[in-house]
């Protein structure tokens, strides 16, 4: 790993402001220098949505607060935010300035909590971690300071699950991905707290988090700390599927594992899988003619420059369901060592016929220098971010942007995981290919 980061593909701990804005009618309150919330928004998220970007209340800490402390200013900001903005949950997040000078924000926020105002706080000074990590910090803070207090259920409800699968806006397609996960999990008979986005039940759903029978983590590592926290707090068991399931094989595997862990009726699960697979493979079968016959060149090799959850899911899908072979699996999310092992194991067993060794690197320029060592005799595709766009263009390579920064894409509700996500990947790869032959 380089000692620095070029081509940043994630942001600092304050990136968790997007975790808040992804909850319906939740409002972040940021206690940081000016510019922080806006810079996070430059990289993550398209559109301010309800209260995002420049709409986010912020103390805009200046020299005075750095010298004399900023708790008074934060107190004033919270009081006025409650008057100005219409929200159901307020989440106070800190930036570098506050965390370095040591503002005691707990003492400020607890005063409001004592009045039963729905408000929580978390320390997210930029230097503390990246936003994959702080996502769980903030979710756990909401669970401890809000959910626990306002919980609405009557104890464990059979069939109810919480899903932790995608870091909102860090996964640019989180909304579509969560929608697809909810759809398939409901398909096997579960009641699903998806928690983020328009398909969730908003904060009412959050209030039933303690009542879940099972927590489902469907990413490599970002959601694990939340599930562990809930296991300790409410005794809820969890299942960890360590990557994004993409396409027929992986999604069915995911559903079977969940079904077993939740003790569901396996016949119902299999019936749903059968129906979904039939549909999925009818399309795969139909497009096989095209990928086998097209005479002018389609990508035969791929590189990923993605976070671990996407890199594993996509690599498996491309190898096993599309016949596109790996030239390099680069993983750019600063994967903690413990989880690098998990990723390596998954890729070592990518198929019966081959194994892949991933490279963990956060210096995007270095990754491109590595990719450039290959002779590129075959047309190739990069699954990455906007940072790989120029290189791909220069080498007549295909590109599928699945990681932030998006820049060249507009993301609404499309999904890249699950059965529908697999179909989408196929359409996009080959639409991109055909587009290059348009006169």
């Amino acid at each position: 790993m380089s000692s620095f980061i070029s081509h940043p593909k994630f942001t600092c701990a304050l990136g968790a402001q997007q975790t808040v804005t992804a909850i319906t009618r939740a409002v972040p309150i940021v206690h940081s220098g000016p510019g922080c919330a806006v810079k996070v928004h430059e990289l993550l998220g398209q559109g301010q949505s309800y209260v995002g970007g420049g709409t986010i209340p912020c103390t805009n800490t200046g020299s005075k607060e750095v010298v004399f402390g900023g708790v008074h200013k934060l107190d004033e900001l919270i009081r006025s935010t409650l008057k100005v903005l219409d929200g159901d949950l307020f989440v106070v997040l800190t930036g570098c300035t506050s965390d370095i000078i040591g503002d005691d924000i707990g003492s400020v926020v607890e005063k409001y909590q004592a009045e039963d105002i729905p408000i929580v706080y978390a320390e997210t000074g930029g230097f503390k971690s990246n936003n994959y990590v702080s996502h769980s910090t903030v979710v756990n803070a909401i669970i401890d300071q809000y959910v626990d207090k306002f919980r609405s259920g009557n104890g464990v409800e059979k069939g109810l699950v919480n899903v932790f699968a995608s870091v909102p806006d860090q996964d640019p397609y989180w909304e579509g991905n969560l929608e697809e996960l909810k759809r398939i999990l409901e398909g096997i008979g579960l009641k699903v707290n998806i928690l983020f986005g328009s398909r969730s039940g908003g904060l009412d759903e959050w209030k039933t988090i303690p009542d879940a029978q099972l927590n489902i983590v469907a990413d490599t590592w970002a959601g694990v700390k939340i599930a562990k926290h809930l296991e300790r707090k409410y005794g809820t068991p969890f299942i960890h599927f360590p990557y994004f399931p993409v396409g027929g094989e992986q999604t069915s595997d995911f559903l079977r594992k969940v079904s077993k862990a939740a003790g569901l009726d396996s016949e119902r699960t299999e019936a749903f899988i059968k129906k979904e697979e039939e549909r999925f493979y009818i399309f795969l079968e139909r497009m096989a003619d095209f990928i086998l016959e097209f005479r002018y060149g389609i990508p035969r090799r791929f590189y990923t420059v993605l976070d671990s959850s996407y890199a594993v899911g996509m690599s498996k899908f491309l190898v096993n369901e599309l016949g596109i072979l790996p030239s390099g699996v680069f993983i750019s999310d600063n994967t903690p060592e413990r989880w690098q092992k998990t990723v390596a194991e998954e890729l070592e067993n990518i198929s019966e016929y081959r194994s892949v060794t991933p490279v963990f690197e956060t210096d995007g320029e270095k990754i491109l220098l590595e990719i450039d060592k290959d002779d590129h005799r075959n047309r190739f595709i990069i699954l990455g971010s906007a940072w790989e766009s120029h290189y791909a263009k220069q080498h007549d390579a295909d590109l599928l942007i699945l990681n932030v920064p998006l820049t060249y894409r507009l993301a609404l509700n499309c999904a890249y995981i699950g059965y529908n996500g697999g179909l989408r990947v196929i359409e996009e790869i080959y639409n991109g290919v055909l587009e290059t032959y348009r006169s």
Partner: protein, 498 residues
């Protein structure tokens, strides 16, 4: 041309390690409610005072504005000594520069920006070693002509001596390594970041002139090469700075025949510095927006470049050329009510343009106000010129880009169109059902052609009424009814600005 000013003119001093922030240097403020005339009077008599806010929303910061300039210099690299979040603007500027440079005929641009990724342990033990290690690795990889190191709140508060490290690295590499002190918390004016970037460029790259050239510096953001035709006709060559100039070109911007600014908020410090340090005369008139503004600016350009007669001919010709279209547009736009939200200099410029087109300006929110510019020349004051030409502007606000205040104003004023300069604002006009557009291309409105461009854009935007009405119907409004019906300066600390 410049009239006497009471204030003593502080000479620009590039030997200082960092440039003084705007609130101190230019008497800049971020909060005012009143009329344009009142603001000018307060600035004039030196009694303009800034006010805080008990509610505020995230603004920009200096580091972004410093980076937007340094990142466009060809041949250099920028290292941001900061946690990774501060690098959130890397991709945005890679995209902006890449796209703009296509228009300059350059197709191989690659943004070379690096974050030292400061972590918790660095905030305890210091981040200088990490910075040096990174700089060495980057120097080996990229072999740049120069390295700029931009600072951050974190590096500033923990007291990392970036200046000393830069000196050491500069000796080691044999190239300029220049610190750019632009921590966000230091200034309420994010435009202080422009000054910080220019200070670094002046200190580390620009050399004393060897001769006078026929080039004219254009202190520019990005956009297109709109000055080429005009300057060629006058026998000069446009040199766009700081973005898109090469390292070598920047070395001798001191030799230029003159300096033009596309925006006085941007170029105040650099324009004044080049004149004071190297005798490059600055075209001190407010940038050419609107008919009168353009006439005045053109004449000043003619005077500085010694082309007065030629300029008069151009003015006459251009007036004749645009007259038929202008009349047509004026008749269509007459009486339409506009509101402007923009940075100071552009806010003033847009205000003039709108009134030139026969529209009614019902108010403006500018982001900040500089009581004066670095050249201390009153003719540079676009707001004063606009007020002189068209009269006072009611509902004039200095808003520090506070969206809650802009939304409040728009909710309560009778407006036909909102024109904004920066991202993040226009959507609120549209959510309130107003046809709205963003003037993100600052050159689009410049000069005589700019007036026509602008009129077309306004007409086109007024025609989007179905879209905005529909968006209004289906959008969520996060502001409480209570807030929308309060006076806009309710959260101003210390009461009215007057």
């Amino acid at each position: 041309m410049s009239s006497a000013v009471k204030t003593i003119i502080p000479k620009i001093n590039i030997d200082l390690p960092e440039v003084t922030i705007r609130e101190v240097r230019l008497g800049s403020v971020t909060n005012f409610t009143g009329t344009a005339k009142e603001l000018l009077e307060l600035s004039e008599c030196g009694s303009l005072k800034d006010k805080g806010r008990a509610f505020s929303q995230s603004t920009g910061c200096s580091s972004l504005n410093a980076f937007c300039q340094l990142s466009g210099i060809r041949g250099v690299v920028v290292i941001n000594h900061a946690p990774i979040g501060c690098a959130g603007d890397f991709q945005s500027f890679d995209f902006v520069h890449r796209t703009s440079l296509e228009g300059f005929g350059i197709h191989d641009y690659n943004g070379r920006f690096y974050s030292t990724d400061l972590l918790e342990k660095n905030t305890i033990f210091g981040g200088i070693e990490k910075l040096k290690t990174a700089a060495r690795e980057i120097f080996e990889r990229e072999k740049p002509k120069a390295i700029f190191i931009t600072t951050s709140c974190a590096s500033g508060i923990i007291g990392d001596d970036v200046g000393a490290a830069a000196n050491e690295l500069s000796r080691e590499f044999g190239i300029p390594v220049s610190p750019c002190i632009c921590e966000g918390f230091r200034s309420k004016l994010w435009t202080s970041g422009f000054d910080a970037a220019f200070h670094s460029v002046l200190k580390s790259i620009v050399k004393p002139p060897r001769k006078r050239s026929n080039k004219v510096n254009i202190i520019n953001f990005w956009g297109s090469r709109i000055f080429d035709d005009l300057l060629n006709e006058l026998g000069y060559e446009a040199q766009y700075i700081v973005p898109y100039a090469t390292y070598e070109e920047l070395e001798y911007i001191s030799e230029a025949a003159a300096t033009i600014q596309i925006c006085s908020t941007l170029g105040s410090y650099l324009g004044a510095a080049l004149e004071q340090l190297y005798g490059v005369p600055e075209v001190k008139y407010a940038p050419a927006f609107g008919i009168e503004g353009t006439d005045r600016w053109m004449r000043e350009l003619g005077r500085v470049l010694d082309r007065e007669e030629q300029v008069e001919k151009i003015i006459e010709r251009r007036h004749r050329e645009i007259a038929p279209k202008l009349e047509e547009y004026r008749s269509k736009l007459s009486g339409k009510k506009a509101y402007v939200a923009a940075g100071a200099a552009f806010g003033h410029a847009l205000s003039a343009l709108i009134q030139d087109l026969g529209m009614t300006l019902v108010g403006a929110s500018v982001y900040h106000h500089d009581a004066f510019y670095d050249n201390h020349d009153k003719d540079s004051d676009a707001l004063a010129n606009t007020v002189k030409t068209f009269g006072d502007i009611p509902n004039y606000r200095v808003c520090n880009k506070q969206l809650f205040e802009i939304v409040n104003v728009l909710y309560n004023l009778d407006v036909d169109i909102l024109i904004a300069r920066h991202p993040g604002i226009v959507v609120w006009g549209a959510k309130l059902g107003l046809p709205t557009f963003i003037m993100d291309d600052e050159q689009y409105a410049f000069g005589y052609q700019g007036i026509l461009n602008y009129a077309e854009k306004i007409l086109e935007t007024l025609d989007t009424i179905e879209f905005t009405k529909n968006l209004q119907k289906h959008s969520r409004m996060p502001y409480t009814k209570w807030w929308l019906t309060q006076p806009v300066d309710t959260f101003t600390i210390g009461g009215s600005s007057k």
